[in-house]
Amino acid sequence: MNEVLSWISVHEQYIYIVVLMIFLGIEVIGRVPSVLHTPLMSGANAIHGVVIIGAIIVMGKAESDNYIALILGFLAVILGTLNVVGGFVVTDRMLEMFKSKNKAQKANSRKLSN
C-alpha cells in the first residue's frame, strides 16, 4: 500500500497529465458530426505518429557498433515517419474534398439568379 502511494506521489505530474488528457480528448471531439468521423480518425492516426520521437531518440542513442539497435532503430524511424507523413497527407486529401462547399454555394446562387 505504502509503495503504491509513494509511486503515485513520485509520478504525480504524469498522473495529472494522463487524467487531464483523457478528459480533454473526450471533450475535444465530443460533438463531431458523423461526416467527419473518417477524417478525424485519420488525423488522430497521424498525431499518434509522435511515437517517431521515441524512435529518433533510440536511434540517436545507439552505439555505432550495436547493429541490432541500429537496424531496429532505423526501421522504427522509417515506420514512424510513414505514420506521421502518410497520416497527415491522407487526412489532407480527404479534407480537400470538403473545401468545395463554397464553390457549390456559388453555383447555387448562380442558378437562382437565372
Binding site: 497529465i17 473518417t38 499518434h48 521515441g54 524512435a55 529518433i56
Partner: protein
C-alpha cells in the same frame, strides 16, 4: 538553454495536437486543424533531432541513419498517400496505423535490449528501485500494445482490400483469452523480478502479441473494420504514450493519451451510428454462417427495369432521392451522379441525396466522395431527415447500397443487422436499385427489399448505368 528551447518545442507540439483535434471535429476548420497539427509535429521532431540531450547530457548521434530513415519513410509515405484511390483510403489509414504500432513495439524491444546489456555488464544485483518497476512495465506494455495494433491493422487492411476472409472457428474466443492471459502472465513473471535466467522470455511478449492481434481481428466481419481500425488507432495512441513515460517525454505522452482517449470515444460514436455496442462488434460474428442460412430460403421474384424506363420515371418525377453506397465508390461514379442530378434539376425535378451514416466502408465516406464531385452540401440529407422525406418522394435511386436499405434491420430479429437504423426507402412510390448482380451485400445477407412490388432492379456497373441514364434523360 537548448533544453529549454526543446521544452518549448514540445509545448508547442502538445498545444497544436489539442487544437488540431478540436478543429478537425468541425467541417469549416478541419483542414486547417490538420495542417496546424502537422506543423506542431514538425517542430517537435526537429527539436528532438537537434536539441535532445539524454540523462548524461549527451546529444544524439547517428544523424545519417536518422535522416536516412526520415527521407525513406517520408517519400514512401507521401507517395502512398497521394497515389491511393479515394475508395482505398480506409485501408491506407489502417496500414499507417499499423506502422505506428510497429514503431512503438520496436522502441520497446530496443530499450529492453539496452537495459539487459547494461545489467549483463554491471551485474544483475543493481536491479532495485521503484523506477525500474514502472520502467519495465512501460516497456512491456509498449511491446504488447504496439504489436497487437500492428498485427490487427495489417489484418484489417487485408480484409478491406479483400485479401483476407473472415475466419471463425469453434473455441475462438477461448483461444483468444488464453493467449491474452499468457501475455499477462509473462509480464507478471518478468516483473517479479527480472534476472539473468528469465529475461530471454521477454521476446515471447511481442511474438504472442502479434498472434493475439491476428486472432483478435480475424473473426470480425469486414463491414465492421472501420470500428476496429478506430479502436486499434487508440491502442497505438496508448503505445505512443508508453514511449512518453519511457523517455519522460511530454509531447509523446500528451499526443498518445489524447489520441487514446479521443480514439476510444470515436470508436463508440461509430458503433452508435450503427446502433450497436462495441462488445457486440468485437464478439458478435457479423454475417456468420447461421444467419445466412436462415435468410437463404426467403428469396422470390424480382423485376428488372430498363434504362429508358428508369430515365422516364425519374425525368417526370417531382422529387428524386439518390441513395449512394459502396458500389458508387467502387465504380468512381460520383461525377456521373452529379451530372445526372444537374440534368434532372434542369427539368425541375427536385434531387436530394440520402446519406446513411455508415454507407460505404467508413462513416463519412459518401460525403467525401460526393463533395469531390462538387455536389452541394445542402443536397445531402442525413438519415433522420431523409426518412421523413421519403414519404413525399416519387423515385428513389439506390446506387450500390444494400445493407443500409435492408428492411431486415427493422423487422427480422434474427438478422445480424437487426436494430441498425436504415434508410426507409420503401416509403417512396418507386424504388430503383442499381447493383451489379443479385449477390448479397457486404454483410452477406439477403435483402427483402429487392423482392417487393415497388422495387425494380437496374443491373450494371454504377458508372455505366448512370451514363446511360444521363443520355436517356437528355433525350426526353
Amino acid at each position: 538553454m537548448e533544453l529549454n528551447i526543446l521544452t518549448i518545442c514540445y509545448l508547442i507540439g502538445s498545444v497544436t495536437f489539442i487544437l488540431g483535434l478540436k478543429m478537425l471535429s468541425n467541417p469549416a476548420t478541419a483542414r486547417r486543424g490538420n495542417l496546424i497539427a502537422a506543423t506542431g509535429m514538425t517542430i517537435a521532431i526537429l527539436g528532438t533531432i537537434f536539441l535532445y540531450k539524454d540523462d548524461e547530457g549527451k546529444s544524439l548521434h547517428n544523424y545519417g541513419w536518422i535522416f536516412g530513415g526520415i527521407v525513406i519513410g517520408g517519400i514512401v509515405g507521401v507517395l502512398a498517400a497521394k497515389k491511393v484511390k479515394m475508395t482505398a483510403m480506409p485501408e491506407m489509414v489502417s496500414l499507417f496505423n499499423g506502422m505506428g504500432g510497429a514503431c512503438a513495439a520496436l522502441i520497446s524491444i530496443v530499450e529492453f535490449n539496452h537495459l539487459t546489456e547494461n545489467f549483463a555488464t554491471n551485474g544483475w544485483q543493481v536491479l532495485t528501485g521503484e523506477n525500474l518497476f514502472s520502467h519495465l512495465l512501460t516497456i512491456y506494455a509498449g511491446a504488447f500494445i504496439g504489436c497487437v495494433s500492428f498485427a490487427g491493422s495489417i489484418i484489417a487492411w487485408g480484409k478491406l482490400n479483400g485479401s483476407f476472409k473472415d475466419l471463425t472457428f469453434k473455441g475462438q474466443h477461448i483461444l483468444n483469452l488464453i493467449v491474452f492471459f499468457l501475455i499477462i502472465c509473462l509480464i507478471i513473471l518478468l516483473l517479479t523480478p527480472l534476472f539473468a535466467d528469465n529475461y530471454n522470455f521477454f521476446y515471447l511478449i511481442p511474438l504472442l502479441s502479434l498472434v493475439y492481434g491476428v486472432l483478435f481481428v480475424l473473426p470480425i466481419g469486414g463491414a465492421d473494420m472501420p470500428v476496429v481500425i478506430s479502436l486499434l488507432n487508440s491502442f497505438t495512441g496508448v503505445a505512443a504514450a508508453c514511449g512518453g513515460f519511457l523517455y519522460n517525454n511530454q509531447v509523446m505522452l500528451t499526443g498518445g493519451i489524447l489520441v487514446g482517449a479521443a480514439g476510444t470515444l470515436l470508436t463508440i460514436l461509430m458503433c452508435k451510428a450503427m446502433n450497436r455496442s462495441l462488445g457486440n462488434v468485437l464478439i458478435g460474428n457479423f454475417g456468420g454462417g447461421n444467419s445466412a442460412a436462415a435468410q437463404g430460403g426467403s428469396g422470390g421474384q424480382y423485376k428488372e427495369i430498363s434504362v429508358s424506363d428508369a430515365a422516364v420515371a425519374m425525368g417526370y418525377a417531382r422529387k428524386v432521392m439518390i441513395v449512394p453506397g459502396y458500389g458508387l465508390a467502387v465504380a468512381q461514379a460520383q461525377h456521373a451522379c452529379h451530372e445526372l442530378e444537374k440534368l434532372l434539376e434542369e427539368k425541375d425535378v427536385e434531387v436530394k441525396y440520402a446519406i446513411h451514416p455508415v454507407a460505404g466502408r467508413m462513416p463519412g465516406h459518401m460525403n467525401v466522395l460526393l463533395a469531390e464531385a462538387d455536389v452541394s452540401y445542402d443536397k445531402l440529407l442525413e438519415m433522420e431527415q431523409a426518412n421523413d422525406d421519403f414519404k413525399t418522394t416519387d423515385v428513389v435511386l439506390v446506387l450500390g447500397a444494400n445493407d443500409v436499405v435492408n428492411p431486415a434491420a427493422k423487422n427480422d430479429p434474427s438478422s445480424p443487422i437487426y436494430g441498425m437504423p436504415i434508410l426507409e426507402v420503401e416509403d417512396a412510390k418507386l424504388v430503383i436499385i442499381n447493383k451489379r448482380s443479385m449477390k448479397p451485400g457486404y454483410a452477406g445477407i439477403e435483402n427483402q427489399l429487392f423482392f417487393q412490388p415497388k422495387t425494380s432492379m437496374l443491373f450494371g456497373d454504377a458508372k455505366s448505368v448512370l451514363q446511360q441514364l444521363i443520355s436517356e434523360v437528355k433525350n426526353l
